[in-house]
């Protein structure tokens, strides 16, 4: 029961960051600022959702697999952020 409540809290917090990331993505005035919103907020949101799901996992291997999902997404985000930021810079974005 406590695990369920914590799961709901964590997933709820994760959703907050997903929504905030999307708001920043829509509102921020230039490409690079939008990329900030996308990279930080969404991956934090995913991390919290993964953490919430891990509390419901049937075994340790599933917990680790969930962590692996998050780590792979983080690595992708850290790479994509730098590549897109540079690409937009070379295209002449301020």
């Amino acid at each position: 029961m406590i695990a369920d409540a914590v799961t709901v809290l964590l997933i709820g917090a994760g959703l907050f960051f997903f929504v905030a990331g999307t708001v920043g993505f829509v509102r921020f005035p230039d490409v690079h600022s939008r990329l900030h919103a996308l990279t930080k907020a969404d991956n934090l949101g995913l991390g919290l959702v993964v953490l919430g799901a891990a509390l419901q996992a049937p075994d340790a291997a599933t917990v680790l697999k969930l962590v692996l999902v998050w780590l792979l997404t983080l690595a992708a985000a850290a790479t994509v952020a730098q590549l897109l930021a540079r690409s937009a810079l070379e295209d002449g974005a301020p």
């Binding site: 990331g21 930080k40 680790l64 810079l89």
Partner: protein
């Protein structure tokens, strides 16, 4: 180049552990797992020879709490700026000369900074890290130096 057997053994162990996570330790998958880990070790040796970019993975847990905290405050910071009606951002660029070796250490620093509050890396130019800042008024350089010191702790020796 000669491969260090110890490093190859470490990598093999890491990939074997990955297989156990993927298969939840299923017994009839072990022979496939051994073959897969061997193939992955060979590939990683081809792509990332063991003599360069050696990371002290056992030191990772020591900096993990800081990283998670930084990631959390990065998310909170950008959420606060996005949701505030007046949207307080002053974007701009900063160049940062890092003493870290090129390759994985410097790329890892850039990636980490992209998840921390206020900074976003755009690769390097002439060896300098290009950093986009959400607020150029903040003291970016000193906080970047702190992160650099943490990554330095992970790099051999």
């Amino acid at each position: 180049m000669p491969a260090s057997p110890l490093i190859l053994a470490k990598r093999f162990a890491l990939f074997a552990a990955l297989w156990l996570v993927l298969t939840a330790g299923a017994l009839d998958g072990l022979p496939f797992g051994a073959a897969a880990a061997a193939a992955a070790t060979w590939t990683s040796h081809r792509l990332l020879p063991a003599d360069r970019d050696r990371l002290r993975l056992h030191r990772l847990p020591a900096i993990l709490p800081r990283f998670l905290w930084g990631s959390l405050s990065g998310g909170l910071d950008v959420a606060a700026r996005a949701l505030r009606p007046r949207m307080p951002i002053r974007p701009g660029w900063v160049r940062y000369r890092s003493a870290l070796p090129a390759g994985l250490p410097l790329v890892a620093l850039g990636g980490e900074l992209s998840l921390m509050p206020g900074t976003l890396a755009a690769g390097t130019r002439e060896g300098d890290l290009l950093l986009h800042c959400l607020d150029v008024g903040a003291d970016v350089v000193s906080s970047v130096a702190v992160e650099e010191q943490r990554i330095r702790g992970l790099v051999a020796p």
